[in-house]
Symmetry: D2
Subunit: 377 residues, 4 copies
C-alpha cells in the first residue's frame, strides 16, 4: 500500500523576490521537483490593492519554481499550488512554507494518524455562481475530491482547507449579464458587500457543506454574508478575478500517512481569545502549562495558520472598541491577529491572513487557528 | 496618624466628550471635589497630530471637572492632574480612570502595603534643559517629592510614575537661542531625533535617577536616546509645548495607606512577551495558571497601565519584522501593545500608550506594565 | 413687493470649536438671529469615520447658534441649516460660511438677477425608499418647493442645490425588512455599493429631475449608481442615518433679490480640468485672462463650492492613474480637488467636498463647481 | 566639431516591471546601447519605505538594460544613470523617461541653443561630510564637471540638475564615529532632522554653489536646513545609503547641441502657484494664453520635471492649512504637486517627486519646475 509522507518547511523571506530559502531546501534535497505540492506564504508589503510586494513575490516564486520543475512558467500552477497572502503588518515575518508530499511503499501500518495533503480542482464556476449556491456546491464537491486525494474519509480528520476561487471582474459581470443572469454584487472590492467577500465566503460555505459543518438544507443564496452562525472552522479562502475554477488543498491527519507531522486546529471565540490559539497548538499535540509552550514544545511546532477576520460587532466582552470605524482597520485587524498568535507561539513566522470584516471562515467575532507539529516520538 | 485611602474607577467613554461615567461616580459619592486627584485616560481617535478627539476630550473633561470642583477652568490643573493619551487603535476601549485620595485618621496599622499616590511639581525647566541633564535632575527631584507626598520611602515600592514635562516649541527654541543656548533638537516631532522624544526620555531618566534604577554617574546629555541600556521600569512620560515645569504622579504601595488596592508592575522583554504582562498581574497579587486570570482574578483586577514603545530593532526572537518600515508603525505599534495586554487581561479597557520608536521607558525592545488589583481579603 | 437680500460671509476656523468668526459677524451686526439661514463649512480633521473634528464642530456651532438665536439646541435645525463637510486635506482651509437672508421692501425693480436662497423640507423618506425612486421623487418635490421659496422659476437660474437626506442604519433596515420591504444595500458605508452612496445619489437625481436635467422617464431604481450619464450639474448632497426627511437649500439668481451677490457654476470635464474651474468663476461674472483672476477679481470672489468625486475610470486623458487602487484615495481625491480649485482662485478657503468614487453629482469623471461673486457695480 | 543630439522619450508603465515601452523604443532604433544615458521615472506604488514597486522597477529595469547593453547587471550604473522616484499618488502616471545622447559631426553651427546633457561622478564622500560643506563642495565640483561634459559654460543655461549622493547608514555612522568624527544626524529618516534630508539638501546647496545661485561665502555647515533663503532653482536631489560618491546629470541648452529639444525652468512661489508652472512651460518656448497650452503646444511638450516639497509654514497666502499636521502629508503633498502640474500641462505623465517638508531645492514654500519642449521650427 502506498502511503504519503508529507513535510513542511518554513523559510523567512528577506524581500519579496527572495528564493534563497527554497533554493537551500532544494540544494539539501528536502524539496524535489516531484514532491513540491504547495507554496503558502506571507509576502512583505502593505496588503493593500497597490501592494506590489505580493505581485513581485508571485512573479519571482513562479519563475524559480518553473526552473526548479523544468516546466514553462505558465504550467507551474498545474504542479504547485501558490497561496500568497499579502501584508505583514506588525509582528508577522514574511515567509514561504513549502509543502512536500512523497508517495512511499510502506509495509508497516502507522500507529497514529499523521499529516496528509490532498488537492483537487473544481468544475468551472460561472460569474453568476460566484458567492452563491453554484459556487458553494462546486467547492463542496472539490473539497470531497481533495479529501479523497489526501486519503481522508472522516471530516473530523480535516484541520485546514485552503481554497482559491474565481472572483468577479468587470468583464465577467458583463458576460453574466449579457447571458441574462444577475451577479451577487457590482462592488468589486472586499468590502462588506463586495464581490470578493462573497466569493471568499461562498468558498468557505462550500467547505462547511463538504465537511458537514453546515447541513446543505440550511444553505441558500440568501444566507451568504447574512447568517453568520453558519461557518467553517477550517476553511481559509481567497479569490481572484483571473481564475475560472476553484482550487482546494486539504490538510488533515490520516492513517495512510507516514509523515512525521500532525495537524490540529481550534478557533478563537472572540478577537482577544489567546486561549483559542493555545487550544490549536494543543489540538496538534503540544502539551504546555501557563500559557506558553516551552522550548521543547516550540522545537516541535512547525507552523501555525490563522485567520484574523475583524468582528462585525464593535463590542468585545462587553466593551466598545473603535476598530470598525478605523480607516486602517484592515491592516490593524491583520496585525492584531499576528500579535495574538505570536504572543502564544513565541515566534513571528506565523501565517496570519485577514483584515476583512465578518466571514464564514470561523465563528462570529472569532477566527480559525491551525497548527502543524512534529510528532512526539 | 493620617493615612491615605486611594481608589480608582475606570469609566468607558462613548465619545470624547462623554462625562457620564464621571457624573455617575460623582452622583454615587465615589468621587468628591476634595478627593479627585487625577484623571488618566485613553481618548477615542487616531492618536495622530490632527486627532481632535483628544483635544475635545480634554476640553470636555476640564469643563466638567471645573464645575465639579467649583473652580474656574484654568484652575483645574492645580487640583486634578490630567493624563490623556490619544489613540485607541484595535482593542483599546476609550476610557477614563478617576483616581481619588482621601486622608483618614486610622488608629490601626495596616497589615500590608497598599496603594498610595503622591504628586509634585518640578522647578521650572528651561528650553535648553529639555532632554538634557537639567530636565533629568529636576524630574528626579520632583519624583522624590512625589514619593514623599505618597508616603513612600523605598523605591522598590514605586510601581508607576506618570510624568508630564515641557517640550520644545518654535518660540521656546528662539528664546533659548536668543540667550546663547543650544537646544537638544530642532525637530519638533516625536520622531527618533525629535524634541518630543528627547523630552519624554529625559523625564524617564529623571525617574530612573530618583529611584536608583540608573546611577547619576552614568547619566549625561550624551546618553539620552543613545544608551538604551539605561531605563526606568516604571516611568510613563509625556510632554507638551505649553508646559513650563514638570508634573509627577507616583503610584506605589505604602504601609501608610488603607486603600483596598495594591499596585504591582513588571516588564515585557520583547514585543511579543505575554509572560511579562502576566508577571505584572501577578506582581500585584493575582494568582492564576495557564496564562489567563480566571473570573475571580478579573473581578479583582482594577486596571492595567502599559507602554507599547516600538523596538528599535527589526528582529524579534531571531526573525525579521517589517514594522520599522511601516508608514503606520505608530498606530500599529500601539494597537499591538493593546492586543498583548488584552489577550492576558481578557478585557479591552486597558491604558496602553506608545507607538514611538525606542525609549528609556522600559528595556530595549520591551515595555512597562503596571497593574492595580483589589486586595485579596 | 418683498425681495430678498442674501449675503455670505466666510470665516476661517482656527480649530473645530472656533466660533470667534461668527461671533465677530454677530457683534458687527452682519448676521442676526432673524437672518441667519445656513452654516456651510469644511471642518478640520481627516474626514474619515472617526474624525471627531467634524462632530466637535457640529456640537460647538450648534451650541453657539442656539445661544445666538435664543432657542434650545435641539431646535437650531428648524432655523438654520448646517452643512458641515469633514476633512481638509492639503490646501483646504477649515472654514464656516454663514449665509443670511433678509426680506426687504423694495420699490425699485432689480436691473439684473442676484443671489437668492430658498429652503424646503421633503416629506418623510422611508428606509425602503432610500436610493430609489421614492427618494428621488420626494427630493425633486422639495427642490421645487425650495425654488419657490427662493423666488426662482427658471431652472437655469439655479446654480447650487445642497441636500441632506436620510441614509440607512441597522435599525432602519430592520424596520423596512420587518414590514416586508427590501433595501437598496446592506452595506452601510459610502463605498461603491454602500447605502450612503445610494442615498447621496438618489438625492442628486432628485435634484436633476426637479431641474429637468434628467427627464423623469429615464429614471428608475435601476439607473441609480449604474447609468452615470444621468447627473445633476448643481446638486451637492449628503446623507445621515439620524435624518427622517430631506432638507434642500437652493442657491440661484433672481430678479426678486437685491443681494449684492451673484452665483454661477460650471463643471469640470475630467479630474485635471482647471478650465472648468475658470468657467465657474466666469459664469458668476469674473472676467480674467491667462488662467488666473487678478486681485480685483479676487476681491469680488466671495466663495467657491466644489465637489471632488473620484472618477470611476483609471484613465485620465488617455493615461493610466493609480488613484483607484490607492488606500488613501478618499483623502487624496478630496485634496486634489482642493488643489485644482485653489490653483485657480489663488486662495485656500474653498468649500471642496468629495473623495467618494463616482456619483450623479456632476458628469462621469468630472465635478461641479459653483462660485459666488460680488456684483460688479 | 562634434556636437550632441539629445532626445527624450516618455513611456507610461503598466506595472513596475513593465519594460515594453523601452523595448519598443529599442526595436524602433530610437534608443541604442551607445546612446542611452539616463532613465528617469516615477514608479507605481506608495512611495513609502516599504514600497516594493520602486525596488521591483529598479530590478526589472536594470535587468532589461543589462541585456540591452550587453553588460553584467552590476555594470549598468557605469553606463546609464537611473533616477527612479517612488510613489504616484493622485494624477501622476507611472512612467519612464529615456534620455539619449549621440555625438554627431556637424559642420553647420546651431542657430539657437538646444538641449544638452552632461554627467559626472563626484569624489568619494565620507559619512562625516554628508549634509555638510564636504558634500557641498564635492557636489559643486561634480556639477561643474557635468556642465563641461554637457558643453555648457554659462550657468544661466542650466535648467535641471539631478543629483544622487550617499546618505548615512548605521554602518557608515559607526565608521565615522570610530574615526573620531561626528555625523550630521543619527536620524536615518527623511524627517526634518533626518540624515536623508541633510544629504539631499547638502547636494542641492552644492549645485547652488556651482551655479553661483548661492555664493560660497554664505555656505557653512550651519546653514544646511536652517537658512531656507539659500537654495537652487534647478537642483533635484536624492540620496541612498548604498552610494559612496555623488552622481550628477546636468540638463541645459547649448549651441553645441543639434537636439530638436529645448529645456527651460521656473519656480512656483508657493504651494498653489499654477502661474509658476505656466512660466516653466513658457521658459522652454511654449506660447499660450488663458492658462492652458493648446493642443499644438502640447504636441511640442515632451516632459515636465517638478518637485513638490511641502512648505515649512502652515500658512498659504494668509490662510491656515492643516497639511503639516496630516499623517499622510508626505503622500498628499506629492499628489498636490502632481495636480498643480497636470492642471496646466493637461496630462498626467509628469515627473513629480517630493512630499518631504522644506528643502534647499527651490524657494521657501515654492518648488522647481523644468520643462522639455520640442523646438518650434
Amino acid at each position: 500500500m502506498k502511503v504519503q509522507r508529507v513535510d513542511m518547511f518554513v523559510c523567512p523571506s528577506a524581500n519579496p523576490a527572495d528564493t534563497s530559502g527554497l533554493q537551500a531546501l532544494a540544494d539539501a534535497g528536502k524539496i524535489k521537483p516531484g514532491t513540491l505540492v504547495a507554496l503558502v506564504g506571507k509576502t512583505d508589503g502593505t496588503g493593500f490593492h497597490d501592494d506590489w510586494g505580493r505581485i513581485w513575490a508571485d512573479a519571482a516564486l513562479r519563475e524559480w519554481t518553473a526552473k526548479f520543475l523544468g516546466v514553462p512558467k505558465d504550467d507551474v500552477a498545474k504542479h504547485v499550488i501558490f497561496v500568497l497572502s499579502g501584508g505583514c503588518p506588525g509582528v508577522i515575518t514574511p515567509h514561504i512554507a513549502a509543502v512536500t508530499r512523497e508517495w512511499v511503499e510502506d509495509g508497516k501500518p502507522s500507529r497514529e494518524k499523521r499529516l496528509a495533503v490532498g488537492r483537487a480542482g473544481s468544475e468551472s464556476i460561472a460569474p453568476e455562481e460566484v458567492g452563491r449556491m453554484g459556487m458553494i456546491r462546486k467547492v463542496a464537491s472539490a473539497t470531497q475530491d481533495a479529501m479523497k486525494d489526501a486519503g481522508i474519509t472522516d471530516p473530523e480528520d480535516v484541520h485546514l482547507v485552503m481554497v482559491k476561487v474565481p472572483g468577479l471582474t468587470v468583464a465577467s459581470i458583463d458576460d453574466a449579464e449579457s447571458r441574462g443572469h444577475t451577479v451577487v454584487s457590482h462592488d468589486l472590492t472586499f468590502g462588506p458587500e463586495g464581490a470578493g467577500s462573497y466569493a471568499n465566503d461562498g468558498a468557505a460555505l462550500g467547505v462547511a457543506m463538504a465537511l458537514g459543518e453546515v447541513p446543505e438544507s440550511k444553505l441558500s443564496d440568501e444566507v451568504v454574508r447574512r447568517d453568520w452562525d453558519l461557518y467553517s472552522e477550517v476553511a481559509m479562502t481567497s479569490s481572484g478575478g483571473e481564475k475560472r475554477h476553484g482550487e482546494v488543498v486539504v490538510f488533515g491527519n490520516s492513517m495512510a500517512s507516514v509523515s512525521q507531522l500532525v495537524i490540529g486546529h481550534s478557533i478563537t471565540t472572540d478577537f482577544i481569545d489567546a486561549q483559542g490559539v493555545r487550544n490549536a497548538l494543543r489540538s496538534a499535540g503540544l502539551k504546555f502549562n501557563d500559557g506558553l509552550p516551552d522550548q521543547e514544545d516550540l522545537d516541535r511546532l512547525v507552523h501555525v495558520f490563522a485567520k484574523s477576520v475583524i468582528p462585525g460587532s464593535d463590542v468585545v466582552r462587553g466593551n466598545h472598541i473603535t476598530l470598525l470605524d478605523d480607516h486602517n482597520a484592515y491592516q490593524i485587524g491583520k496585525a492584531l491577529g499576528g500579535m495574538l498568535v505570536a504572543s502564544v507561539t513565541g515566534r513571528t513566522t506565523n501565517y496570519v491572513s485577514g483584515g476583512e470584516r465578518n466571514s464564514h471562515q470561523g465563528p462570529p467575532g472569532g477566527n480559525i487557528v491551525a497548527a502543524v507539529v512534529r510528532a512526539d516520538t
